[in-house]
C-alpha cells in the first residue's frame, strides 16, 4: 500500500510501508493512504504502531526559562573607556549596555546576549585602539630620543 506523509506542510510520498521510517515518520506526522477520507496522525493509526514503537520517545522538555542573571553588559568597562581612553568608542558601549539590560528585562535573553557581545566589541576596540596609540606614541618618543642622541656625535 502507498502512504503519503505531511511533514512541515509538505506532502511527501508515495512510500511503501517499510520506507516510512526513513522518510520522516513520527507520531505527530499526518498520514494518508488510498481509502482514507482524511489525513490522520500517525499515532492514531493502529497499523503504524509497530513502526512508531521503533522510534525513540520524544525528547524531554528542554525549553529552559531565561536565566535569572543578565549577561554582562560591559557598562563599567564602557564608562572607564569613555572617561580614560580618550576615544568615543566607550559611548557606543554605554548605549549597548543599556540595550542589554532593556532586552533582559523584557525577557529577550538571546537579544540581550547579542547586545552584550556588541558592547564587548566596542569597549575592547576602544581600549586596544587607545593602548595602541600610547604604544605608538612612546615608540615615536623613543625614536626621537635615539635620533637626538645620534646627532650629538
Amino acid at each position: 500500500m502507498d502512504y503519503y506523509l505531511l511533514i512541515g506542510g509538505l506532502k511527501k510520498g508515495p512510500f511503501g510501508f517499510e520506507e516510512l521510517l526513513q522518510n520522516g515518520l513520527t507520531a505527530d506526522v499526518l498520514v494518508w493512504h488510498v481509502g482514507m477520507t482524511d489525513w490522520r496522525k500517525a499515532s492514531e493509526m493502529e497499523e503504524l504502531g509497530e513502526l512508531l514503537a521503533q522510534l525513540p520517545p520524544p525528547p524531554p522538555n528542554t525549553s529552559v526559562a531565561s536565566p535569572s542573571v543578565p549577561p554582562k553588559s560591559w557598562l563599567v568597562e564602557s564608562i572607564l573607556v569613555t572617561c580614560l581612553c580618550c576615544l568615543p568608542f566607550g559611548v557606543v558601549g554605554i548605549v549597548y549596555a543599556a540595550k542589554v539590560d532593556s532586552a533582559f528585562n523584557s525577557g529577550r535573553y538571546n537579544d540581550a546576549l547579542h547586545y552584550s557581545q556588541t558592547a564587548k566589541n566596542w569597549t575592547l576596540w576602544g581600549f586596544f585602539v587607545a593602548l595602541g596609540c600610547i604604544v605608538l606614541y612612546l615608540l615615536f618618543l623613543g625614536m626621537i630620543a635615539l635620533i637626538g642622541s645620534q646627532s650629538l656625535y
Binding site: 535569572s68 542573571v69 543578565p70 554582562k72 553588559s73 557598562l75 563599567v76 564608562i79 572607564l80 569613555t82 572617561c83 580614560l84 581612553c85 580618550c86 576615544l87 568615543p88 566607550g90 559611548v91 554605554i94 548605549v95 549596555a97 543599556a98 540595550k99 539590560d101 532593556s102 533582559f104 528585562n105 587607545a130 596609540c133 600610547i134 606614541y137 612612546l138 618618543l141
Partner: protein, 124 residues
C-alpha cells in the same frame, strides 16, 4: 589559574600606572600622549583631561581634578560602585539588575553627551 593571572596583571598595571601618574605631571612631561581624538579633530572628547585629573586626584587635589575633567570625578564613585555590584553579581543578581536599570544607563549616557557638547561649545 588564568583568572588569577588576569587579576594580578590588572592590579600590577594599575599600581604601575598609579606610580607613573603620581610622580610625573602630564602638564609638564611630554611622556604622556595627547588625546588622539583631540589631535585629529580639534574637539575635546569626553575623556580629555583625564590624565591631568588622575594626577591631581592622586595628589588629593579634587578641585583641580574637577577643573581638568569633571566627568571623571563624577564617574569614579560610580565606577567603584558598579565594580562592587558586578563582583557580587552571581550572589545578588537582583541588586545587579536594580542598579543596571536602562533608565540609569540612559541618564549617564545623556550626561556624557551633554558634557561632550558643553565642553566644546562653552569651553568647559
Amino acid at each position: 589559574m588564568t583568572k588569577r593571572w588576569k587579576y594580578l596583571g590588572i592590579g600590577g598595571g594599575m599600581i604601575l600606572a598609579g606610580v607613573v601618574y603620581y610622580t610625573l605631571s602630564p602638564t609638564s612631561s611630554s611622556l604622556f600622549p595627547k588625546c588622539p581624538f583631540f589631535v585629529w579633530t580639534g574637539w575635546k572628547c569626553p575623556g580629555c583631561g583625564s590624565q591631568r585629573a588622575v594626577h591631581a586626584l592622586l595628589h588629593g587635589d579634587v578641585a583641580a581634578a574637577w577643573g581638568y575633567n569633571a566627568l571623571l570625578v563624577v564617574s569614579l564613585p560610580i565606577i567603584i560602585g558598579l565594580f562592587y555590584v558586578e563582583s557580587i553579581r552571581a550572589k545578588y543578581p537582583k541588586l545587579y539588575i536594580r542598579v543596571h536599570q536602562p533608565l540609569f544607563i540612559w541618564i549617564y549616557f545623556f550626561i556624557v553627551i551633554a558634557w561632550w557638547l558643553c565642553r566644546n561649545w562653552m569651553g568647559w
